[in-house]
């Protein structure tokens, strides 16, 4: 396949004969407020929350009984019975039951990856409209039976006679009855995500105060965004919540400084990661409406932003070469190079705050000469971002992080920010999204404010 052997080029610049790609436009988004685990959504399932977010989107954009090209969403903590989670949510929503759907799972990058995958289908002309999304419940998490009990139950089902069944049952031991709850540990290292990040945070010499400051900014930026009504057309109340329940508008550097470290305690005095500068477990769901320009125009729907391009990366965290959550440090330079852009060409940076240490370690890597030369193959450091452009309306430290729902939250908010911002030096406003994920992965993307083509 000669085409595949060519280096990937910017998607707008397809070679002759292949036809030009269409634009994939972000029309808008809707999410339910994110709730700390054990809070307002304790009894709500992933399907409930995804359906609630979907129904809010449908109501906002008048999509009742509309057949959407495709809906893709996912959950990181997913019950085995929810194998068709997204399709079931569609069937429970006001969309046409003839709307196809699929589930996707790429840990915390799930939501952003659904946006990129569906945007690509729109660009290729395979579909005209799409809804991307994600949901997670840490409250209503699946609990599996132990491996021992599972084997016994399966054998029991296969046993044909009563003596056979009794023989199988006689293998049952008390320890088999202990359930197997999910945890945030990496299967290959046994370390939790927080412990992994603590190592990275120490490796990049990120201080406690810098992390607390990032958390402080996140809360204050998110609170200010709520105050000026930024989320009025991005969030639908659910179960009595109208704002993210993790948000602490009155938090201060002093308060954050009083918290004791919870991760990396083996580092002793170097332990810097607290409950304040780490994201808590959260429940919530988000959705994003995407479409071709013609599709949005035919319905009189807004066109906020264009999904320009995306890139995934992964790092070898198992053998210690890179930190678990450092993949975006590699994905972003590749994405920038492919699109011929540098940090100066961006007006907004949305870097998911899994931990304050993650954001700061990533920024430190990009600013590091040696990392740029030896790991990124550049002449020097990738560059420094203008911190005034970082997570200006708050991010996961304040809003919370229902794993698969974070991508949709960021894409919808950024699309609105880009549209509100207007052109910059004659070009459309541009935003960079960076999301780290379990398994040493990361997905990043570029969004641009929508601007009508010449003559339209």
């Amino acid at each position: 396949m000669p085409a595949a052997a060519q280096p990937a080029s910017a998607p707008q610049e397809t070679s002759e004969g292949q036809g030009t790609l269409r634009k994939a436009v972000v029309v808008g988004g809707n999410r339910i407020p994110f709730a700390r685990t054990g809070g307002a959504y304790t009894k709500s399932s992933n399907q409930d929350m995804l359906t609630a977010a979907l129904d809010g989107l449908i109501a906002r954009f008048g999509l009742q009984e509309e057949r959407i090209g495709e809906v893709a969403a996912g959950a990181v903590l997913k019950h085995s019975r929810d194998f068709n989670l997204t399709r079931e949510a569609v069937l429970g929503s006001a969309l046409s039951p003839e709307t196809p759907a699929y589930d996707l799972q790429q840990a915390c990058a799930t939501g952003l990856e659904t946006v990129l995958g569906l945007a690509n289908k729109i660009k290729l002309g395979q579909i005209d409209s799409a809804i991307a999304g994600g949901v997670d419940s840490a409250s209503d998490a699946p609990i599996a039976v132990s491996e021992g009990l599972r084997e016994i139950l399966l054998d029991l089902n296969r046993a044909k006679s009563l003596p056979e069944r009794l023989k199988v049952l006689s293998r049952l031991r008390p320890k088999d009855l202990a359930p197997d709850a999910p945890n945030t540990g990496e299967p290959r290292t046994g370390l939790s995500m927080g412990e992994h990040q603590a190592l990275t945070t120490a490796q990049w010499k990120i201080g406690r105060e810098a992390q607390d400051e990032l958390a402080f900014n996140s809360h204050h930026n998110l609170a200010a965004a709520y105050e000026r009504g930024f989320f009025d057309d991005l969030v639908t109340p659910y179960r009595g919540l109208s704002r993210d329940s993790n948000l602490r508008p009155d938090t201060s550097m002093e308060k954050l400084a009083t918290l004791k470290p919870v991760f990396g305690k083996s580092l002793g005095a170097e332990a810097t990661m607290t409950a304040g500068n780490s994201t808590p477990l959260t429940d919530g769901a988000s959705t994003v409406l995407l479409g071709a320009e013609e599709w949005a125009d035919a319905r009189g729907l807004p066109k906020l932003a264009v999904v320009v391009d995306g890139e995934a990366a992964a790092v070898d965290f198992v053998h210690g070469k890179d930190g678990l959550l450092m993949a975006p440090a590699f994905a972003v330079p590749r994405l920038l190079a492919r699109n011929g852009l540098s940090f100066e060409d961006f007006d907004f940076f949305e870097i998911h705050e899994a931990f304050a240490g993650t954001v700061l370690s990533t920024l430190a890597a990009w600013e590091d000469e040696e990392f740029g030369r030896t790991r990124l193959g550049l002449d020097g450091a990738l560059g420094k971002i203008d911190r005034a452009k970082l997570n200006v309306n708050g991010s996961s430290l304040a809003a919370g992080h229902p794993f698969a729902a974070t991508g949709g939250r960021i894409v919808a908010s950024l699309a609105k920010m880009l549209q509100e911002n207007g052109p910059v030096d004659g070009r459309p406003a541009r935003g960079l999204i960076s999301i780290c994920a379990a398994g040493g992965q990361g997905v990043v993307a570029i969004l641009e404010a929508y601007s009508a083509p010449e003559g339209r």
Binding site: A40, K43, S44, S45, Q47, D48, T51, A52, D55, E65, A89, L91, G92, S93, A94, P97, P237, Y238, R239, G240
Partner: protein, 303 residues
């Protein structure tokens, strides 16, 4: 309805207390040979500022197969209004025995979607006591209004039969409306109802009528086994009709053979669309797949 001012109840009455009181009243009437009034009480009962409990709402939605949205299912509103309705039937001057009454049919008009968190005024009264070939029937009406602006949101009419009770002055039914022949259609769904179906619905609806709870409690009231709540069955059928239905709709159900638990119930749900393609109505019918006896049938229709 009567023009009298409603009797305002301070709080939603406890259904379990009402059932105990109903049992005591029944015993007293039997022992004393005491015949209560022969006409329906004129007044209505009302509870103001009722709010759905979110945990209860979620449990109800999950049990009947609705997604846990912030919109109260029409059957959930029936359950909210049920204690107020039962308090009318539990009055000393109510002429029919509450225990053992049979739910014949139910008619609901959902005029507006009711959001979780809205404060509701619930008023109920009894009307139209009339003859039935097997006893005496009456309608219990419940109206649910927004406490904020008084707008009527939901209206339900439940028709009950007091079997074997013939009151002086109440006309006998003129025609014996025996159920017609029923040929089961091709099924579109099957429900597997466990023996605990009645207990589970009692827990979310508060309707702890003993005929639904267990074999023994049902036997005490003369039934061979416990039976599923009629409103559980109708609410599940409404959930199965799904989110295609419009915000305002009419929902009817007519109950025939009771569903003895545990059970397999076969269903057919068929949907009609307007020429525009919008949903117009869904009809449902449920039957015992072994005997072919019809359990209930009804419809959901756009308003």
């Amino acid at each position: 309805m009567s023009t009298e001012q409603p009797l305002i109840l301070g709080d939603v009455p406890s259904l379990s207390k009402l059932y105990v009181n109903a049992a005591a009243t029944a015993a007293r009437r039997r022992m004393l040979g005491f015949q209560a009034a022969t006409v329906l009480p004129q007044g209505s009962h009302e509870v103001r500022g009722v709010q759905a409990d979110v945990g209860n709402l979620t449990a109800y939605q999950h049990l009947i197969g609705e997604s846990a949205s912030d919109v109260l299912p029409a059957g959930f509103i029936h359950a909210l209004a049920f204690p107020v309705a039962m308090s009318v039937l539990n009055r000393d001057d109510f002429p029919l025995p509450l225990l053992g009454m049979i739910h014949l049919q139910n008619h609901v008009e959902q005029l507006q979607a009711v959001q979780f968190g809205e404060l509701l005024d619930i008023r109920s009264w009894a009307e139209d006591m009339r003859g039935h070939r097997a006893g005496t029937q009456l309608d219990v009406v419940a109206e649910v209004r927004s406490s904020a602006d008084g707008a009527l949101l939901w209206r339900g009419v439940s028709t009950y039969l007091a079997k074997g009770v013939f009151l002086p002055g109440v006309d006998k039914a003129t025609t014996a409306a025996a159920p017609g022949e029923f040929t089961p259609p091709a099924l579109t769904a099957v429900w597997q109802l466990g023996v605990d179906t009645g207990r589970l619905y009692a827990a979310v609806s508060g309707d702890f009528n003993p005929i639904h709870l267990s074999l023994l409690s049902a036997k005490a009231l003369g039934l061979p086994r416990s039976i599923a709540h009629g409103m559980y069955l109708a609410s599940r059928a409404l959930a199965d009709v799904g989110s295609v239905k419009s915000e305002a709709f009419r929902w009817d159900v007519k109950f025939e053979a009771p569903v003895f638990l545990p059970a397999r119930v076969a269903l057919e749900i068929s949907t009609l669309h307007f020429a525009s393609g919008a949903w117009e109505a869904s009809d449902y019918v449920a039957w015992n797949p072994r005997s072919g006896r019809r359990h209930f049938s009804g419809s959901v229709t756009a308003l």
